[in-house]
């Protein structure tokens, strides 16, 4: 029979109540096998838990996604805002377009939040996790850079304001259109894939 004595397994031989002899045997082999099985089971359990978390995260994101028409409206208005910002001057009508789209986007976002609340979800305006905040900050920097470059390229590309030896992008007549398309598509993609603004790893199939 086997006994555990000071955490060492020993084989003992008995005659009646007397122990004749004992010596350690198969401890390493037996324990190692048990440990390997335990580790495999723990890893499988952890893997399964992580997969279920990923699945439920994807399902939650899908259920929180705004309707497609709203995503299209917001992205279109963001594109119009970028274009208007790039080509607006003091007295042209694009300044009005910039103001109108600039007001409409927050109103549509508020509408999306209101409908979410009716359904029973109150998402925070700003992400709560650290990764979400970094993700949002990167988005803000990206959009600011695209808008700034679009505006600068348009303004410095005009014959009356063009500087001698200006950067080649300044001569790009499609700059405001390109900036508007980049912003519009990016907003649509980000709103569709990350409606909560949280950085969540998603399956390629989703």
């Amino acid at each position: 029979m086997y006994q555990e004595c000071n955490k060492i397994y020993r084989a003992t031989f008995h005659i009646g109540k007397y122990v004749l002899c004992y010596f350690p045997i198969w401890k390493v082999t037996g324990d190692s096998l048990i440990m390997i099985d335990e580790n495999r089971s723990m890893t499988a359990e952890a893997q399964s838990a992580l997969e279920s978390l990923n699945k439920i995260g994807n399902e939650t994101i899908s259920s929180l996604r705004p309707p497609l028409w709203l995503i299209l409206m917001i992205s279109l208005l963001c594109g119009i805002f970028t274009f208007s910002f790039a080509v607006s001057e003091h007295e042209n009508s694009w300044a009005l377009g910039m103001w109108l789209s600039g007001i409409s986007v927050p109103l549509l976002v508020l509408f999306a939040k209101y409908s979410e609340r009716l359904l029973g979800v109150r998402g925070p305006f700003l992400p709560t996790s650290g990764s979400g905040k970094v993700f949002l900050a990167l988005q803000a920097v990206f959009f600011a850079v695209v808008m700034f470059v679009g505006r600068e390229a348009t303004v410095s590309g005009r014959p009356e304001t063009r500087l001698e030896g200006a950067f080649p992008i300044a001569d790009l007549p499609l700059a405001p259109y390109i900036a508007a398309v980049i912003v519009g598509l990016s907003v649509a993609y980000l709103t569709y894939k990350y409606p909560t603004n949280e950085w969540v790893r998603q399956d390629a199939s989703k």
Binding site: E38, A46, Q47, S52, G57, T60, V121, G123, E198, V200
Partner: protein, 94 residues
Amino acid sequence: MKNSRLNPVIHAPNRLHICAILSTAGEMEFKWLRERLEVSDSVLSKHIKSLEEAGYVAVAKRRDFGHRRTWIRLNAAGRDAYTEHVKELKRMVG
């Protein structure tokens, strides 16, 4: 799971899913959460109670649009505990 730093309160499947949903979406209404998890009122109440007693979720009852609604959200301690739990799961998978 022996020899691991998994949080026993969070590790139960339904509670883990509650934390996952709340960490993704902020504050949720009880009914919405129940439909997501496909569990009964009593089961969800029990799990929410456990998480509340552990200090991981905050439950608030408010009147919205003329209806009394129960809102549940993960607080800072719950978010930290959930993040640590997921980290530990990832460490175990390697």
